[in-house]
Each structure stands twice: as structure tokens, then as C-alpha cells.
């Protein structure tokens, strides 16, 4: 019997499986000071640790957690001990204490640093820390990943556990009374993601007492078929005395009330002792395990948002370079901000899921996809649909995606099914199945339906739940194959009704080559919705399209009481009055007054009669100079300066698009690389500098924040820039700034470097080898002017 079988045997043979209680609590009672590293006691005081394990086993614990919670490379760095040493000692102590009477879990807690995007620890680095722990704890009977508040970190740990051991894995996360973790992870997102990734049991631990656990466990029981774990604190701590609020009896009583929500494994966390486990056992002794067996709906999620597909949901299609010149240019420039802009526009327009396609032959699609997924999940909690034809790209994206994504797509070809489905299964995603195969796309609904059946069967055989298979019956262009539009709808209807699967359809293709495409698209969308379309892939920025979905949801009685519809349109004011004659302003006025839309409009009009360079040099720049001067003199303040800059940015965007559409090189006065240095995440100042530089016609290569030294050098050399701007907020990151400068000086001596940031001074800037110190964004522009003229 292997360890996984043994774990499940334990679950099968016992009504409830009892875990242990607090380790830190027991150690503090034995003199451990606040802030000391309890895991070191595995080496220095093994008998004390074993004694604690034995006390729990005597109290009834069937699984004890080894004293390895914080034994990771990051936390132990300053102790001089390796994770390997501390963990193997901890597991050994526990195994000796258990002596076959209980199972021993390798206990893995959070690393102690937040992951990107809130922190600076990379997902891949987190994985490496966890991998080291998993490998060191190989002698344990199971792995417990606990007290997690970040779904992303939990995913890194779970992947590390699954990929580097055969042990069963329990994951528990820590929730607040608002049913969210500190990083905003919801209970449903946790369940969908971790069950998808192959955890063997999931649940909740720490932060709250068992009474406060009830609503969290209740919610969890609706979203998982896995055994549920509860490991609560002894109530809440008192900050002055550091004691907890409830007694063992109260603890046991509260657990008895969790039984109806399907708890299977129960133990204690902070503040609990063997007495709590004893009381727990007593209060559950006359109870029966009541598995929840929920009907889990089709759903996808990010960490913070679960989108249940219980009616049509809009998948935004705009993050896709196909047929878009500007998008292609942006990909070649590595301009992630452009992609974020496409995302934000769709979010505001009503998208509920975002399709992400960054495929372009000239670029490294995998690298771009990973960076795009990471950047998108830094700003939005809309779930993503990963869209690529290359399996490696799909896998790389799914790996770094924080939640349960959709894979777009697999098709009925044997090769596609074989390559894509195992990836979908491994990462617990949903998948779009295209109803085409080796013979191409059939004209007939029957043939497409047959391929849908084939895809479903292959997916289920690969271990994918049927509710996670979404079928795309494929839209063909009506201008070329007019007879096929209704065949698509017919196939879709059958898939929905006969297979009971969710359906997906790219809508916009239908009108290709026809005039008034919007009219065709909108009507086709409505026909498809009425025939059972769940997931239209469409342009949500077109108001009539989004409106059609919202109206359908209202009419189909999905949007109960028209709540969403009223929220979307109820506050709509009647169209703004047309500007009065004689009320038109010039570009200078628009810039000075922060009138973005008007500035863009005026620029577009000017371009019909005026040369773009003339607009830039004779109108935009003088307007900006004026606001810059007003800012320096204290006549206007930072928000106004940036609003003006926003107008100029909009004007530049119009000019840029104009040039690209005419195949002319856009106006660029010079390129500047900007970065917030390694280790630093405070980038708002750098971003203000970026806006202002762009205003003055400089192309900014923005490397973002927490940027490696080499990445700065690489971008500077690749783009042959004359100026690099570096920012750092804290004294602790000035060292990284100095190192970046040193590297630039050594490898690219001709470049000039300007630095800025709260703790910098002109003297310090000189000391670390910068050419210039800029006290604010305006001064950086002045410096750029001096360099580029």
C-alpha cells in the first residue's frame, strides 16, 4: 500500500480524522520568544518537539504536522541552517514520536514574502522554495500546505508537491470573516483552483475560531467534492496578553456544528493544545460524517472572482493581434501597457472573461504570453481565456495563471486532443473544443455535432469533468458561405440540448466582407443566444453587442429583477448637449484644462490640414511648457499637471495612429529606457515621468518595477538609447540602483543616466555614478531635452 492509499484508508476507516493542534502555542508555553524561529528546535531540542507530538497523539490526533511550517530557504536564510537540515530533522522527530500510531505530515506554510504582483517574489522563485521543502520532506506520509492567504502561492506550493512527490496533499487557506483571504481570494476560487490542480483534501485553517468558520466551511461545501479540512484557532487572540478566547469545551461544541457542512478532517491551530483535540474528539464521537456532495456549476475564476456560467457571459476578444496593425506594432515594441489598455477598455465595457492571444510570428510568443498573463492579473480579476495554437504557450500561461482559466482551444484532430487535453487536466482548466478535425470544418451541423461528441469523450477519458468542456461550433463568414450560418446555430443548439455542454462562439467572423457589420453581428449574436450560446467571444466595446447580451439575460429571466441591466443603463444620462457654436477650444486650451476627449478630437481634425510635426512643435509642446512652468511656480498642482499630460498623451496617440495608418514612421524625438530598480515596487513616480516624457515626443521603453540589472542594460543596448532613467523609493533599494548604474557604466559607457526617488539627493546621485539627478518628472524632461536636443 503506498502512502496515498494509506491516507485514503485512514479517511475511509474513520468517521472523522483528527489532526493535531498548535505547535507554536505549545512552544511558547515552553519559553519560545515572539519572533524566534521555532523550526530550529528540531535540531536543538528534538525531545521537546517529540514530546509535543506524543501529547497530541495521546489526545487522539491521527495525523501530526511536523515542525516544519516556516522551514523554507527564505525564512531560514539568516539562521545558517538549510531547509533540508531543518525539515529532515523535523520529519524524523515526528516519525519517531508517531511510531506508526499516526501519520506524519510535512507542514508547509507561506514563504514569508508576498508574491508578485503585490510583492516582488516571482512565482517561479516561490516554486523553487517549495520544491526544496517537498524534496527534503520526502519521508513524511503526506504533505500539508497551510495558512495560505495567497492562491498564487498556494498554487506554486501545490504544483511543487505534485511534481516532486507522490504523497497525498492537503491544502488549507486562511480566511477572514468576509469570506476572503487577505489577498482577496474567495472560497469558490480556492476550491475550483485547488481541486483542479489535484489537491486531495482542502479546507480552512487559522485566523478565526471554529464558530467563525461555519459560514466559510458552508460556502466551501458548495464548491468541492474533496474531503473538507477544518483547523481553527482557539478563538481570537488578545494583543496584550496574547491568549485566546475560547475553552476546549466551547471549541468542541463549535466543531459539532460544522459537521453538517461536510468536515472530514478536524484539528486545531493557534492557541489550541491537546485538551482541545480531546474535546474535539469527544464532541464528534456521536456524529456521522455528512459529505456535502454538491452539484458544482460550470465556472471559471481568478483568485478574486468566480464567473459562473449560468447564462451568457461575455468573453472580450480584443487582446488579439489578428488584423490589427497597432496591436502588432505594440507586440513588436514589447508594449505591455498597450495590451493592458485593451483589457481596461473591455472591462469598462462589460467583458466578463478576457481572451488573451499574443501570437505573432516575429516574437517569442511564450515569453510574451507569460508576461501578459502576469501583467493582466496584476490589474484585473476577470478570469482569462488563454488563446494559442502552441501547446507550450498554453502550458506556460496556465502555469502562471492564478485561478481556473479556459484553454482556447482543442479540436477534434487526434494530435490536438493528445497534446492539449493532458495540459488542461494537469492545470485544472476548462477547455474550448472546436468542432473541426482532420477533414476541416464540415458544412453540416450533424458532422460538427459528432466532433463535439468525440471531443467530449476524449476530454472525459483524460480526466476532465464534462462541465469544463465548452464547445465552439464555429462561425463561418456569411458572405462566403451563407448557407452555413444556420448550420452553426443548429449544431450549437444540439450540443447544448443533447450533450448538455456549455457553448462558445466567436461571433464577429460572421460579417466579414459585408457592409454594416455591426448589424449582422448583433443579429447573429441574438439568434445564437436564443439557441443556447453561453460564451460569446466578441467585442464588448461595441455597445449594441454588449447590450444584446444584457437584454437577452433580462428577457430570459436570468438577470433577476433586471438588477444588472439597471446597473448598466439605469444611471445613463440623456446624451450631453452638443457644444454651442463658438464654444470650440484650441489644443492649447484643451491641454491646459485637462480635456482629454476634446484634445483628441481637435488633434484628429487638425491632422486633416496640418502637418503632424507642426502640431507637436507649435501646439502641444508650448502648451505643455506652459503647464510645466505653472507647476514649477506653484500655480497648478500635480493632479492638474498630469491631467494636462493625459490630454497631450491622447493627442499623441491620435498622431501616432495616423502615422502608422499611413505607414509613416511615428514622431520620435528619442528613446528613453525607464525602470524602477530591482527589489523596489514603488513605481508611481516613474510612471509620472513616463507620461511626461511621452508628451514631449520621446519613446519610453518602460521596463516596469523590480527590474533586474541585466534587463536594464539589455534594453538600453538593444534600443541604442542615449538616456536611462532609474527610480528607487527606499534607502534599501539604492544599492540596486548603484549596481544597475555600475553595470551600465561597464557595458554601455556612452549612455547617460538620470535618477530620481524620494530618498535621493543630488549628492548621492553623483556618488553612485549617475549623470543627473531629477527632483521631479518635469526636470527629467528638461534633462532629456538637453541630451536629445
Amino acid at each position: 500500500m503506498n502512502k496515498k492509499e494509506r491516507f485514503f484508508k485512514l479517511l475511509k476507516e474513520n468517521e472523522f480524522v483528527f489532526l493535531d493542534g498548535g505547535m507554536g502555542t505549545m512552544l511558547q508555553a515552553r519559553g519560545l520568544k515572539a519572533g524566534e524561529t521555532p523550526e530550529l528546535l528540531n535540531l536543538t531540542h528534538p525531545e521537546q518537539i517529540k514530546e509535543i507530538h506524543r501529547l497530541y497523539i495521546d489526545a487522539g490526533s491521527m495525523i501530526v504536522y511536523a515542525n516544519t511550517f516556516g522551514a523554507n530557504g527564505y525564512k531560514l536564510a539568516e539562521t545558517g541552517k538549510s531547509a533540508e537540515e531543518v525539515i529532515s530533522a523535523g520529519v524524523k522527530n515526528a516519525l519517531e514520536a508517531a511510531d506508526g500510531k499516526a501519520l506524519v505530515a510535512l507542514d508547509i506554510g507561506p514563504i514569508g514574502q508576498l508574491l508578485e504582483p503585490t510583492g516582488t517574489l516571482k512565482f517561479e522563485e516561490a516554486y523553487d522554495y517549495f520544491k526544496e521543502q517537498v524534496t527534503a520532506g520526502k519521508d513524511a506520509d503526506l504533505i500539508v500546505i497551510e495558512t495560505m492567504t495567497d492562491l498564487y502561492e498556494t498554487k506554486a506550493a501545490l504544483l511543487a508537491a505534485k511534481e516532486n512527490s507522490e504523497l497525498p496533499v492537503i491544502c488549507t487557506m486562511t480566511f477572514e470573516e468576509n469570506l476572503r483571504t487577505f489577498t482577496g481570494c474567495s472560497v469558490s476560487s480556492m476550491a475550483l483552483t485547488l481541486e483542479g490542480l489535484g489537491a486531495d483534501a482542502i479546507g480552512v485553517n487559522c485566523s478565526l475560531g471554529p464558530r467563525e468558520f461555519a459560514p466559510i466551511i458552508e460556502e466551501l461545501s458548495k464548491w468541492t467534492t474533496l474531503p473538507i479540512v477544518a483547523k481553527a484557532n482557539a478563538g481570537l487572540p488578545d494583543p496584550v496578553t496574547n491568549t485566546y478566547s475560547i475553552t476546549p469545551e466551547q471549541f468542541g461544541e463549535a466543531y459539532a456544528k460544522l459537521v453538517p457542512y461536510g468536515i472530514k478532517l478536524a484539528g486545531g491551530c493557534c492557541g489550541t493544545t491537546p485538551d482541545f483535540i480531546r474535546a474535539l474528539k469527544k464532541h464528534l464521537s456521536d456524529k456521522k460524517y455528512q459529505p456535502a456532495c454538491p452539484e458544482i456549476p460550470a465556472a471559471v475564476c481568478s483568485a478574486g472572482r468566480t464567473v459562473v456560467i449560468d447564462g451568457p457571459r461575455i468573453i472580450g476578444e480584443r487582446i488579439n493581434p489578428t488584423g490589427k496593425k497597432l496591436f502588432k506594432e505594440a507586440l513588436k515594441r514589447n508594449d505591455i501597457d498597450y495590451i493592458l489598455g485593451q483589457a481596461i477598455e473591455q472591462i469598462h465595457a462589460g467583458a466578463e472573461i478576457l481572451d488573451v492571444n499574443v501570437g505573432l510570428p516575429e516574437i517569442d510568443e511564450k515569453d510574451m504570453m507569460v508576461r501578459t498573463v502576469k501583467a493582466l492579473q496584476g490589474i484585473t480579476d476577470l478570469p482569462l481565456q488563454i488563446d494559442s495554437t502552441i501547446p507550450e504557450v498554453l502550458e506556460a500561461a496556465l502555469r502562471v495563471y492564478n485561478g481556473k482559466a479556459i484553454v482556447n482551444s482543442v479540436n477534434g484532430e487526434a494530435g490536438s486532443l493528445e497534446k492539449i487535453l493532458p495540459i488542461v487536466k494537469k492545470y485544472g482548466a476548462a477547455v474550448v473544443g472546436l468542432t473541426l478535425d482532420e477533414n476541416g470544418i464540415s458544412k453540416k451541423a450533424e458532422a460538427r455535432f459528432a466532433i463535439a461528441e468525440k471531443i467530449l469523450k476524449a476530454a472525459v477519458d483524460a480526466g476532465i469533468n464534462r462541465r469544463d468542456v465548452y464547445i465552439d461550433c464555429l462561425t463561418l463568414t456569411a458572405s462566403a458561405e451563407q448557407e452555413s450560418a444556420m448550420e452553426t446555430v443548429k449544431a450549437l443548439h444540439r450540443v447544448k440540448e443533447e450533450l448538455g455542454l456549455k457553448t462558445v462562439l466567436g461571433v464577429s467572423n460572421i460579417s466579414f466582407g459585408l457592409p454594416n457589420r455591426e448589424l449582422i453581428n448583433c443579429n447573429f449574436l441574438q439568434i445564437a443566444l436564443a439557441n443556447g450560446l453561453d460564451l460569446p467571444i466578441m467585442n464588448p466595446n461595441v455597445a449594441s453587442m454588449t447590450g444584446a447580451v444584457r437584454a437577452y439575460r433580462l428577457l430570459a429571466n436570468i438577470d433577476k429583477n433586471s438588477v444588472e441591466f439597471i446597473e448598466a443603463y439605469g444611471g445613463e444620462k440623456s446624451a450631453p448637449a452638443a457644444p454651442k457654436q463658438g464654444d470650440t477650444h484650441d489644443l492649447m486650451y484643451a491641454v491646459a484644462n485637462g480635456l482629454k476627449a476634446e484634445g483628441a478630437k481637435i488633434t484628429a481634425e487638425l491632422l486633416e490640414t496640418t502637418d503632424s510635426m507642426e502640431i507637436v512643435n507649435n501646439m502641444l509642446i508650448p502648451a505643455l511648457d506652459k503647464t510645466g512652468e505653472d507647476f514649477e511656480k506653484g500655480r497648478i498642482f500635480l493632479p492638474q499637471l498630469i491631467m494636462s499630460a493625459g490630454v497631450a498623451q491622447a493627442a499623441f496617440e491620435v498622431i501616432r495612429n495616423h502615422m502608422i495608418s499611413k505607414n509613416a514612421a511615428p514622431v520620435v524625438k528619442g528613446k528613453v529606457v525607464l525602470a524602477t530598480v530591482k527589489g523596489d515596487i514603488h513605481d508611481i513616480g516613474k510612471n509620472i515621468v513616463k507620461v511626461l516624457l511621452e508628451n514631449y515626443g520621446y519613446e519610453v521603453i518602460d521596463l516596469g518595477r523590480d527590474v533586474e540589472y541585466e534587463a536594464v542594460l539589455e534594453a538600453a543596448v538593444k534600443n541604442q538609447v542615449k538616456l536611462v532613467g532609474l527610480s528607487a523609493l527606499m534607502t534599501t533599494t539604492l544599492g540596486a540602483m548603484e549596481k544597475t548604474i555600475a553595470l551600465l557604466r561597464e557595458k554601455y559607457p556612452e549612455v547617460k543616466i538620470v535618477v530620481g526617488g524620494a530618498v535621493l539627493t543630488p549628492e548621492y546621485a553623483e556618488k553612485i555614478g549617475a549623470d543627473f539627478y531629477a527632483k521631479d518628472a518635469k526636470e527629467t524632461v528638461d534633462i532629456a531635452k538637453r541630451i536629445y536636443g
Partner: protein, 227 residues
């Protein structure tokens, strides 16, 4: 550990951070602030945690606390805690969602981002104000100093990681430090408050302990970053 729900943001403080001094915002900026305030209040998940320790020794160079592995080093924190018998170690945060809001705003509109950033900073100060009141209640009758943070004077910012360990801030409110001792979520604060049975000389927040006072753009304009 406790949650703080904020009803509004201190506009005067926000304007001060944005460099306005005593000036009022114009209509357009005020409208933008109204919009930002709604978003910030929706995003902020204000939380704080603290622990109160007896001061074991204040040598003038370092302060040791009873039952606590963290040693506060430097003359300035010793001066700050002079005459105090206890020290409250406090950590407050506006939460991870606030950080995301600011990232989102930076990608869509920098003017909003700058305002939201300043507002989030004010929000975390309000969270710490609530914590301070709480500490005052739990130590009734004692006098309190103002909030002194790692990085002020010569109290090393590198203490952050250990500071968070001893206050259990990671588990309690989700605040961590990165390898460069930057707090994450960004809008988080740690601070030491001294407690004394005797009246404390009215030591107030001042520029004296600030390490960037020589180069401070606020001071150059004749204004202060604090009230």
C-alpha cells in the same frame, strides 16, 4: 487584530500629499477626487495588529523588550521611548486590493492613480489612528508617544522583517516585507508607540528625525507632510 472600516478619506491630508499646501483643489480635480474616493474606500480593507511588550532596558543605544526577540537599535528610538515602561509594536495596512486598484489606475489614468495613491496613504494612516485609539483603550491611564517607524532617524528599516514576525503581522493581517525591507502590500505601516504611566513631554511628529528633510520638496515649499 482588528478591521477598520473607513467612511471617508481626509481630503486636507490628501491635498497636502499632492503638494497643495493650504490651497484648494479646482473643480475638475475635486470631481476626480470624488470618483477616486469611492474606488479607494471600496478597495481598502483596513486591518491592524499590535502587541504590547514591557521595556526591559533602554540603554540609549538600544531597547530590549521582554519576551521579544526584536531589539530596537539606534539613538532615536531610545530617545522616542525615554521614560516609557512599555512599547506597543503596531502594524496597519490598507490591504492588497488597494495596491491592485492603484496598479489598475496607473494603467488607465495617471491623474486618478496619483490621487488614489495619496488617498490610500491617508487611509493607512487612518487605520493606524484607529489602532492607536485601541492601544490607548487597552492601556487606560497611560500616556502615549507618537508613532515612530523603522526608517525614521537611525532606527534601521532592515528591522521590518523581524518587526512583522514579532507582531505576527503576516498571519494576522497579511503584511510581509520583501528582501529589501519594503512592506507589502505597499500601503502598510509599522510603528513603535511608547507607553508611560508618567506624562510624556509633548513629543510630536517633526521633521527632526526624518532622513530626507534636507531634500524634501514639501519643506522647500514651506509645508509639511504631516498635520
Amino acid at each position: 487584530m482588528a478591521g477598520v472600516s473607513l467612511k471617508s478619506i481626509n481630503r486636507r491630508a490628501v491635498l497636502r500629499w499632492l503638494g497643495y499646501g493650504g490651497e484648494n483643489a479646482d473643480e475638475k480635480v475635486t470631481a476626480l477626487m470624488d470618483e477616486c474616493e469611492k474606488k479607494v474606500l471600496a478597495a481598502v480593507n483596513g486591518r491592524y495588529t499590535y502587541r504590547i511588550f514591557d521595556i526591559e532596558e533602554n540603554s540609549g543605544e538600544r531597547v530590549t523588550l521582554k519576551g521579544c526577540s526584536l531589539v530596537l537599535t539606534g539613538k532615536s528610538v531610545c530617545e522616542h521611548l525615554k521614560g516609557c515602561t512599555k512599547a506597543a509594536l503596531l502594524c496597519g495596512t490598507a490591504g492588497a486590493e488597494t495596491d491592485r486598484l492603484i496598479r489598475m489606475e496607473q494603467a488607465s489614468d495617471m491623474a486618478s492613480a496619483v490621487i488614489a495613491d495619496a488617498m490610500a496613504g491617508c487611509a493607512v494612516e487612518a487605520v493606524c489612528d484607529a489602532a492607536e485609539e485601541d492601544i490607548g483603550r487597552s492601556c487606560e491611564g497611560m500616556f502615549m508617544t507618537w508613532r515612530f517607524s523603522p526608517g525614521y532617524g537611525d532606527l534601521p528599516i532592515e528591522l521590518q522583517k523581524q518587526f512583522l514576525e514579532v507582531t505576527n503581522a503576516g498571519r494576522a493581517i497579511g503584511v510581509f516585507a520583501n528582501e529589501n525591507s519594503l512592506l507589502t502590500p505597499k500601503k502598510s505601516v509599522t510603528a513603535v508607540i511608547g507607553l508611560s504611566a508618567e506624562k510624556i513631554e509633548n513629543k510630536r511628529h517633526s521633521c527632526a528625525v526624518c532622513n530626507i528633510k534636507e531634500n524634501c520638496t514639501f519643506r522647500q515649499k514651506g509645508i509639511r507632510c504631516y498635520e
